[in-house]
Symmetry: C2
Subunit: 433 residues, 2 copies
């Protein structure tokens, strides 16, 4: 029996009196992701998704249903304070919510604290302090590296250093906020000088977002064996990218305006606890390929550092929407194509003493499967714009056009566990200003 | 007569009843920088530096000495709200403080709101949202580029794109917070594999920090002709760097752990208004070298986009401190060796719609003069570690050692104006953990 099976919050037999949760596939009572929402006539507050509904955790706190430390965190307008609590307290909140939503005795008391999700507005779940994007999708690194350096796609540091760089926190938005096509400098082929104007190579990047729970003091690294304490949960992340701006600006200090105009995240934090049944060994990193340096090595992490998540990207163009066509699937693949684990990213990031804070966001970098059907960006799918994708509407796409909506989803499944999902990360592109 | 000479806050004849301010050279009544401090027995609050003293602006606000919008901003524990006000209101605060500190009629009323600066603790002046570091020191770019690419030091984008990248906001500290030597991966010469341990090439970088005042909405760029409205003021910034970590990690996405372990800033914000007399034409960028793209071009900015600031770096080793020796000057040079102006940096950063927010910090990147006496980092002064500096203590330095203190200062002077300074940015290095 898996260790998580003894945790009643994962009991496959557990159902909820919120009937839409049972057999929901994304937000059953075994998931219970956390977020911040506004009901139709109210301000922003913390909630938990349950089927097609949201439980108002601020109202639960006010009703005396949580112990004091949890109640104090749940009345805040963001998850930062809750993330700053020790994991044992965050686990007890999960157990409590699971109990409240599964035991019918609470049904009458909680009915007024349950809202229909489609009536609510979802916000960023935290005030994001710093945002860091990694580059752990090894197939993506190979695919992109091959376009820039055909004979040497993977740089010598890749298998030693979890490569990462800082991104922009202020321009991260939740699902359903429109993305304005950015303008910037690009150098047309054959020209010696750049021009300024709307990007002609707008792309998405399929990533997982990693939420940091408790932080570390400046100068005090996180040991790999302690990293679990600092991992709050996952979301989906679309790292929108302007490839023509990127190609011209990125040397020598890395991507800047090509990336920081907008990033979209799915609004629900699927917690580390909810993901426990879906932890698997790291298939993308063979042992001794090379062996990680000691500060990044932990046998337990190697044994279940990856996630049994299936990722999908869909595209819905304006024409498809008008014609009533369903979104077209651009790719599907496993999230396990990550060369470095969440714990290795957290540990590496703090290994020089850099202080992480509750509510920081780390991106994995684009996650691509080894073959085209699972590539995580149009840059890869279209081979740098060479081979456009044919859509059911008769349209073709080498890059993202105005009016297009990109939809990322992820579902987790494991033997003996009830399947869950991360929800969706979606946004539509509007024309340049 | 210069336009600023009609502004009474710059009147060279104006003196303060705080006598240490008169002839102070750094914080005379013509400067009035803003910061956040704690007096010996009190909590953090906003203040203005005046000579060797600090005026408590929260107390002034509580005493009804400011108009309501300014009073509401001055009772906050950081400058963010004040920075978010229109510049006309920030200017009126400057005029009011100048009046209060120069007219002796206020002496008795304000004496209890004046603290001796050396008794106070200085904090970060703002809650920093996002931190971006630029690379506008063209001689630094040349010097460093030459070490990596002898035949091609300046990349083709340099004279079109104000190159920048995102840095870490959480690890920025004010002066006098010790810097712990970071550990990390480096690849020893001749080795195929990296090792992990304390950096052997710790360096400083001499930069100016640019504080963002009012922000812009996501998707709405700042026009170059509106950029002044978004510039709150300057500080000094030491972008501590671990060169061996940097060399190994920085490709392909830029510096990360080599930089984000600690950055030190001077605690006083010297405002755009205080700097008005010291604006000069941009000597580092000849016109049409090439001409900037239209979105970065503004004749007025070209005419006075630079600052008549002289920068200095001093080193005080533990041995020198014990021997009672004065700090040794490592370099001195003009801040005008910047290829791009503050307004061009603000405009470029937002040109893709990226939203800046009040209290964001932009670094200029290392500012080096054309010759060795004005180089802004030990990497440049020592020629990549080849030529150590000889110190009066008999010691030598190719990079920064434990116990060393690095002190950055800047002074502004202009014909007809009272000289001011930015204060000092200083921190001592402690051994690795």
């Amino acid at each position: 029996m898996s260790w998580w099976a003894s945790d009643e919050t994962h009991d496959p037999a557990r159902t909820s009196w919120v009937e839409s949760a049972n057999g929901h596939g994304v937000f059953p009572v075994q998931n219970l992701p956390l977020g911040v929402f506004s009901p139709p006539t109210g301000d922003a507050r913390i909630g938990a998704a349950i089927g097609e509904a949201i439980l108002d955790l601020r109202a639960c706190a006010a009703a005396g249903l949580f112990e004091p430390a949890l109640a104090a965190a749940c009345i805040e307008p963001s998850l930062n304070r809750l993330f700053g609590l020790p994991s044992v307290q965050r686990k007890s909140l999960r157990q409590r919510i699971s109990h409240l939503l599964s035991d019918p005795v609470y049904r009458d008391q909680l009915t007024s604290h349950i809202f229909t999700a489609s009536d609510c507005e979802l916000h960023l779940p935290v005030r994001i302090g710093d945002y860091t994007d990694f580059y752990v999708g090894i197939h993506h690194a190979n695919n992109v590296g091959r376009q820039f350096r055909p004979d040497n796609p993977l740089l010598p540091n890749y298998k030693y250093v979890p490569i990462g760089y800082h991104g922009r926190a202020s321009s991260i938005r939740p699902s359903d906020v429109a993305v304005r096509r950015p303008s910037g400098q690009r150098k047309p082929a054959g020209s010696d000088t750049p021009v300024f104007g709307p990007t002609e190579r707008l792309d998405y990047e399929l990533e997982l977002g990693i939420w940091v729970s408790s932080g570390n003091e400046l100068g005090e690294p996180i040991a790999i064996t302690d990293a679990a304490e600092h991992f709050a949960g996952l979301c989906l992340l679309n790292d929108w990218s302007a490839r023509d701006l990127q190609a011209w600006e990125y040397q020598p200090l890395g991507p800047f305006l090509a990336k920081n105009f907008h990033s979209t995240i799915s609004p629900w934090v699927v917690t580390a606890e909810a993901l426990a049944p879906f932890r698997i060994a790291q298939p993308a990193r063979p042992e001794d390929d090379p062996r990680p340096l000691p500060y990044l090595h932990d046998a337990a992490d190697q044994a279940h550092g990856a996630f049994a998540l299936t990722l999908e990207v869909h595209l819905l163009t304006a024409k498809m929407r008008e014609a009533g066509l369903a979104p077209y699937r651009l790719s599907t693949g496993p999230a396990s194509s990550m060369y470095w684990t969440v714990h290795q990213m957290l540990t590496h990031h703090s290994s020089n003493g850099c202080n992480l804070t509750p509510g920081d966001l780390l991106g994995t970098g684009t996650i691509s499967a080894p073959t085209r059907g699972g590539f995580g960006s149009l840059l890869e799918i279209s081979g740098g714009g060479q081979t456009a994708v044919k859509l059911p509407s008769g349209e073709v796409r080498a890059f993202v056009e105005d009016g297009d909506e990109i939809i990322l989803t992820a579902s987790a499944s494991a033997p003996g566990a009830v399947a869950i999902g991360l929800g969706s990360c979606r946004a539509q592109v509007t024309p340049a200003r």
